[in-house]
Amino acid sequence: MLHHARAAIARIRELFRARSHSAVEQNDEFSFHIEMETAENVRRGMNEADARRAALLRFGGTQRWAEETQSARGVIALDNLARDARFAFRRLHRAPAFAAGVIATLGIGLGAAIGIGTIVYDVLLRDLPYESPDQLVRVGFITDGIGISGDMHSPATYFHFAKSARSFTELGAYWTSDDFNVTDGDAPERVTVALMTPNTFTLLGVRSLVGKLFEPGDTSWSNVRNAILISESFWRRRYGADPSIVGRRIDINRGARNVIGVVPRSFDFPTPAVDIFYPAPVPVKTAQITARGFNVIGRLRDGIDPRVAAAELNALIPSLAERFPAITPDMLQRSRARVSVESLKSATVASVRPQLVLLGVLVAVVLLIATTNVVNLFLLRTERASQEIAIALSLGATRLAVAERFVIEGIVLGVASAIVALPAAALALSTKFGFTAREIPRLHEVSFTWETAALVLGCATLIGAAVGLIALTRTGLGGLFDRLRASRPTSSRTWRRAQNGLVAFQVAIALVLLVAAGLLGRSFWNLRNAKIGFEPRNAMTFQVSLPWNGYRSYADAAVFHAKIVDRLAALPGVTSIGVALRVPLAGRGGSSLDLQLQAGDGEGRPTVASAGNMASADYFGVMGIPLRAGRSFRSGDLRGTPAVIISELLAKNVFGTTDVIGRTIKQSRVGSQPMSFTIVGVVGDVHWERIEDGYAPMLYFPLQRDGDGLPSDRSAVPGRPMDVQFVIRGTQLPSTPTIQETVKELDRRIPPTNIRTLGSLVDAATARVRLTMLLIAIAGIAALLLGVIGVYSVVAYTATSRVREFGIRLALGAAPTRVGGLVLGDGLKLVGIGIVAGLAAALGTTRFLRALLYEVKPTSIAEFGSATALLVIVTVCATLIPARRAARTHPAVALRAE
């Protein structure tokens, strides 16, 4: 952006130089004049001195004439400009349809293009907002040989590189965690914490807003400072920007810490959601490379290339074994351990780069289409106005003046469309199309600034002027003049073909988008109406995560949960309450079918993978999950062989039938004895993470109120209910503050989280499809509109240029409908090609939507058919207008017009 401004300034400076150049010219001219007059006077008999004096006198004040000449130049130019603009306004006023068409097309196209373009630029191309960002890199440690994915480090690898590598001024490590609750004050709150080695701050070049940053010693366990940093937004939100925040003690469920400083809002590493920063230790007690959870970033030394750094680190890998004997060279080799060094910017946006690039390309295409349409509209209008122009020319208007008129009209329209484009772009950038920072990294850096506004205005004006010029060159003023004498189509063949091609292209794109929108629409509909297996109405859920202190056993946790249930049950309007480890569609990332199950008597048969849950007796009833056979849990189910309930799908997968009450089911576990359970009930299936994945086979362990009185060191079932979901059904559901109060009264440290209705779970599950569907539907409608305008303008333009031919035909006795039919035929041919191309393209590309489609085939006939039909109807209507006009041509007028 800056170099654009510089170029513009250079151009203006040139203009001034031209001005001073003309001043020099003028001086030359005046001197010449005076010398000639002097010479003439000398010829008449004066002496040199008198001659010159007389000449100067005769000339008049040089200064004055110089000024008047300069101002004549400027004033005339300005006059002309103002007059042209006025005329442009008047002409456009007389052709509102044309003006509206151009303004709408250009406005929406430009607004969307710049909105999306800004997002693409800010996310992909703009430098990260840190010091010397091109030196920042992400260092990855990859060991695909032993099946570990990702590029995170273990403490050992980080330690090793940090100590030995020379290519970096600093190497820092960090990871984030959601497992922290801040428990001071009235309202406990779950926070996002980033654990960072102290040098990460200096590496990125951040300064504290208040207080100080970490010192290297802060990471040791025994450090008495217990330092933490908090983010500016957290500081303002929770502590009201308390100026005495430094030194304040904050109670956190992992232990109280002292705030030593506040980090400014502009620092949003690793994500803007981070509230608290912990100094991260790098424990190398057990040197290994298999348990890896550190992200490592570094700053390259001046002049060092990332590839050089990567080479150095790769060369350091063998010495890992020397430093840590527990890491054997054999393991390093087997794991194919290697290092990757990638610019931090790249690494941050890598996940969305392909989509954003695609988006960028699409936007360029849309802009191209919009501009082409506008050019076509201009050409169409020019054809009609050509008579007017020819007359103006014959009356003495110069070509320059007529050309100016085109360009000014274009600019006026351009500026007018900016008025539409600005709010469009502002809307796009403020809503960011509904995306959040979770889907697109760095999205929070995107905003609508005055630079964006200037860009919109500038582009609009430029495009307007360019369109005017293009229309001008296509008509060719010489050609226009000829039109008064002989009739000849003024556009060349290749231009005509290009126009047709572009319109067919638009039609094709519109078809593809409409088909995609249709497919997604039906998927969305299917998703909303899918049998989810539970009743989402009149129910809500919230989550409670127990801290380690005070809840060491299953029984402890269960008792606590029971207390909450009792309190909530006493509220008016509450009908029933259930507790479980998980609720369907809660989507906490990664569907895990982590139980391996077998029929109790099915030795040798392969194990079946299944999801595992823990549920209270009332859970099924509250959720509306039907009980197909047997019973729900009851007291005593943990004793002896514990009871379990399984879903229909699991029953069929393991036993081949749902008649399994009383049978035994075994869970195989790696490294320990399998556990056996008795099946006491079979329930209906539910979805697990996503509706699209279908039902998940599910095994429910009992969540008994009192732990069934078992001793706390015995665990009858795998796992303790530390993070559970409560489900409440009733005629009147408790409000969020009520729930928070209730839980707080029982344990101050625990904040209930994810308080929402069951209905919102279903909404969230369909949100992704819904969003994509909406986007594509909007794009499809826009493409349809553009396509229609495109078809109309090209067909009308062609028809107008054939008006003489039509006149002759009509004069020779052809039926008007025949002439109209000619135009219609032209249009249909165009649309036909577009549709065929579009169908082919759609067939080829809709398979990429497969991930989003639910119970809809990518080649579903219904959608293809209806989209095609819609497109045909609309475009044919667009063609009818010029067809009718052609049919109504007056032969005399048509022939005379040429």
Binding site: D28, R58, F59, G60, W65, E68, A72, I76, G396
Partner: protein
Amino acid sequence: MAKPTTNEQVLQGTLDLLILKTLSLTPMHGWGLTHRIEQLSQDALQVGQGSIYPALVRLEQRGWIDTEWRITENSRRAKYYRLTAAGRRALGQELASWNRFVSAVGLVIAAES
């Protein structure tokens, strides 16, 4: 400077016309133009010979005349002015306009009552 006489003012008004007409015969530079006009009209441009230059600029902006730097016979560099096609067309109209004006004044002068 004394107030311009009647005729000088009228002359200013017809300056454009005079320039166009003179250039229609042959391209000239600025001094040549003033000289010729003064010759033919036998009336000095009292306002100053330099007044021709703003007029020339205006005509150029309109696209009625073209300019070109050339070398004169005495090997001096001078800016020559030349009528364009549009200027030629304009000349015809300006002439008609002027004639209308002159006849109109003539009517007033000739009126008896």
